[in-house]
């Protein structure tokens, strides 16, 4: 072969190799395209498996987004850590736990986020099948105040757990507890600066948790550093069959409320439904829709359905839950929380006997019925 021909052949060969490499990135009508890969905003791609989710996140060293392919189930065996400044867009994908796996599913760091997905820790639901081991204190989404979180986003998510009753051999039991936590904000009792603030939780559905939302501040009195779970916003939430819908718990040891702070959180537009007891165990009958020991928190537009729910005992006919056992909203301390809402236990079948229990002295329930109220140049206190 002549030299020119040889050179041309080599050039063509090099070009061919290069283009073949490019061809694998080409668009086609088959489903081998970017939508079926895990990808991140650096432009990198990974095969769609559970292990690669963390790799895609870790590949982003200064923030960005990781997209997952939707219509797909990922079995999670290790907590996915969403690092600072990273949004995990699940694209409709579902995270599930294999049998006997009991872990926190996702942990968000400062300025991180998760959206557009489904975390289902219910495991198998077939009659008599074994079920997930998922149990508190693990959660679907976890935020640790030790990470000093000043903002984060949880948006457009569905979180599913399952009732303890499904796992029990004896199905004839009442008050089956939900399992685990849906969203868990946690501050421990340690003398380091801790914070979870500026988190937006929006459009989230919770089913069958022990605590659907658990804001837990265990910071005690020792040392000088403070732990704050303050100033977070929760909007447009639906709750079904959770033992407690919203549980806000702070360490009572800190009477100053400075070290163990649970305040200024805003909850707006929520619908709570208790579960349904049945002879085979079934769902969780809610104990509380809202259980608060924080202060200066605000609740607006909150609806609790069928609070005085029926339960079944030993397969007998349904009986009413005694009124003292059925509640909707409990404020457990002098906490200046504001509750602006209607509560509603209306139904043709099951009458709600839910209650608003105020064990503090300064909580506000703002309720004006069918009246026009004018206040001019007046500072009004009292009842």
């Amino acid at each position: 072969m002549k030299k020119i021909t040889l050179i041309a052949s080599v050039i063509a060969l090099v070009l061919l190799v290069y283009l073949i490499g490019s061809v694998t990135r080409s668009i086609s009508s088959i489903h081998d395209n970017k939508l079926t890969f895990i990808r991140n905003s650096k432009g990198n791609y990974w095969e769609a498996n559970s292990t690669n989710i963390q790799l895609a996140i870790d590949d982003l060293d200064s923030g960005g987004t990781v997209w997952l392919p939707g219509a797909r189930i990922f079995e999670i065996t290790q907590t996915i850590i969403v690092n600072e400044g990273i949004m995990l867009d699940m694209g409709g994908a579902s995270f599930k736990l294999p049998e006997e796996t009991n872990i926190r599913v996702v942990e968000l760091k400062n300025k991180a986020g998760i959206r557009n997905g489904d975390i289902d820790v219910a495991g198998h639901r077939t009659w008599h099948d074994s079920y997930t081991a998922f149990l508190e204190p693990n959660s679907c989404i976890f935020l640790n105040a030790n990470s000093y979180i000043e903002s984060a986003t949880i948006e457009n998510m569905y979180l599913d757990s399952i009732g303890l009753g499904y796992n029990e051999p004896d199905y004839y039991d009442d008050y089956h507890s939900g399992r685990g936590y849906g969203i868990h904000f946690y501050a421990g009792d340690q003398d380091t600066p801790q914070r979870i603030s500026g988190v937006t939780v929006r459009d989230v559905y919770f089913r069958s948790f022990k605590h659907a939302i658990f804001l837990q501040n265990e910071r005690g009195n020792s040392g000088s550093e403070e732990a704050h779970i303050d100033g977070n916003t929760f909007d447009y939430l639906f709750f079904h069959a959770n033992e407690v819908g919203i549980n806000m718990s702070r360490n009572p040891e800190d009477t100053s409320r400075q070290k163990s702070s649970l305040s200024g959180n805003v909850f707006n537009m929520m619908q709570f439904q208790s579960g349904w007891g049945s002879w085979w165990g079934g769902e969780e009958i809610a104990h509380q829709y809202i259980l608060i020991s924080g202060y200066n928190n605000i609740f607006t537009n909150v609806m609790g359905w069928d609070a005085g729910h029926l339960r079944v005992s030993n397969g007998e006919a349904c009986i009413d839950v005694p009124e003292e056992e059925c509640v909707e909203v409990i404020f457990t301390e002098d906490s200046k929380n504001t509750f602006i809402s209607g509560r509603c236990g209306i139904s043709d079948w099951y009458w709600g006997t839910g209650k608003y229990i105020d064990e503090g002295t300064n909580n506000t329930r703002f309720s004006v019925s069918s009246a026009r109220l004018y206040i001019e140049n007046v500072t009004k206190h009292g009842t």
Partner: protein, 359 residues
């Protein structure tokens, strides 16, 4: 160059030409790329034609692991942005499927419900324009009530939608029960929705008398209406239409607008409403007189506005709106009434305590 060399060179040349042609299909700035197709999260794409939207949705029903078909992991269908797609029949968004319109517009080719959502489905970021259909009297968005969308199931979500009609035709959002089939209900969240020139902007209509039928617990936030005849209507022919929340609602009245809200259900809440130009028909709009009388069956006669908690501002009018007092709980009829509150604070502070009004 001998014959073999010529053949080899020609072969290589053809191969290079072909591959260069393929380069134009590589993700690039050219307009021949995935963003111009209808695609779904299985990675399947099809031409941007209206009929292909349903095909892309139906294609997501793959049960084999790692997928789980309808009712399993949520899948998404994306429409190409800035396109207008004409559909021949109702678009059904199947269980747990998200239709992300990415700014596209859907136009129906006839008089039928344009989009019907199922359990756990979502619709977002687009326009539904029914104005070309001169006989339109159906709905831009509805949900299938016989799915019994109770709170034990994933709630559908509808975000960022613009619904356009013309000459007061049809319904923007339509939630309804009817007939004798038991177990009908719908629970969903609607956020950032605009309606324009519908007969009914939002119609919640419960007429079924069968067991376990009701329309409760929907949430509407950031809703805006422009020139709808009846902006928001909650009607029950029998219990119950109850526990709905409307928050941050703006109504731009035209001369055709009859009312902002008409509700005869119970325990519904209307929080932060603004109505502009409510009296632009010269003050003859009788619908703005609210009565304490209960709705009678048959033709709606009385309109009243109820809320458990309501901050209300109506602008553009000179006259007060008369809110009649109404008891919270009507023991005679064993019903919770809608409740309303008109609160005005002028140069004052309201702090702590409980305020109780009078019935």
């Amino acid at each position: 160059m001998n014959k073999k060399e010529i053949i080899a060179s020609v072969f290589l040349f053809v191969l290079v030409v072909y591959l260069i042609g393929s380069i134009t299909r590589v993700i690039s700035a050219s307009n021949d790329n995935m963003d111009t197709f209808i695609c779904n999260s299985l990675g399947n794409c099809c031409d941007p034609e209206g009929a292909n939207i349903q095909a892309a949705i139906d294609d997501l029903n793959v049960s084999a692991p790692p997928h789980a078909g309808y009712g399993g992991a949520h899948g998404t269908v994306w429409l190409p942005a800035n396109t207008v797609l004409s559909i021949p029949d109702t678009l059904i968004i199947e269980n747990h499927v998200t239709l992300d319109m990415q700014g596209a517009t859907i136009i129906p080719q006839g008089n039928f419900d344009v989009v019907e959502l199922r359990i756990g489905s979502q619709l977002k970021d687009g326009t539904i324009d029914v104005s070309p259909v001169t006989t339109f009297n159906r709905a831009a968005i509805t949900l299938r009530e016989t799915d019994y969308m109770f709170l034990s199931k994933h709630t559908p979500r509808i975000f960022n939608m613009h619904l356009v009609s013309e000459n007061l035709r049809g319904k923007g959002i339509y939630l309804h029960t009817e007939g004798t089939t038991a177990y009908q209900t719908i629970i969903a969240h609607f956020h950032n929705i605009k309606t324009r020139e519908f007969e009914y902007g939002v119609l919640i209509n419960h007429t079924s008398t069968a067991d376990a039928t009701y329309l409760n617990a929907n949430m509407f936030s950031n809703i805006e209406g422009h020139g709808d005849k009846y902006f928001i209507t909650l009607y029950e022919s029998n219990p119950e239409v109850a526990g709905h929340y409307f928050q941050i609602v703006q109504c731009y009245c035209s001369s055709d607008t009859e009312y902002i809200v008409w509700a005869n259900g119970q325990g519904n809440t209307f929080d932060t409403f603004v109505a502009y130009d409510w009296d632009n028909n010269g003050g003859t709009r009788a619908s703005y007189n609210f009565s304490s009388e209960e709705i009678t069956s048959g033709t709606p006669t009385y309109h009243f506005f109820g809320s458990d908690q309501c901050y209300l501002s109506i602008r553009g009018g000179e006259e007060d709106i008369d809110f009649a007092p109404w008891a919270l709980y009507d023991s005679g009829n064993d019903r919770y009434r809608n409740r309303f509150t008109l609160l005005e604070l002028k140069n004052s502070n309201l702090t702590l305590g409980q305020i109780k009004g009078t019935d």
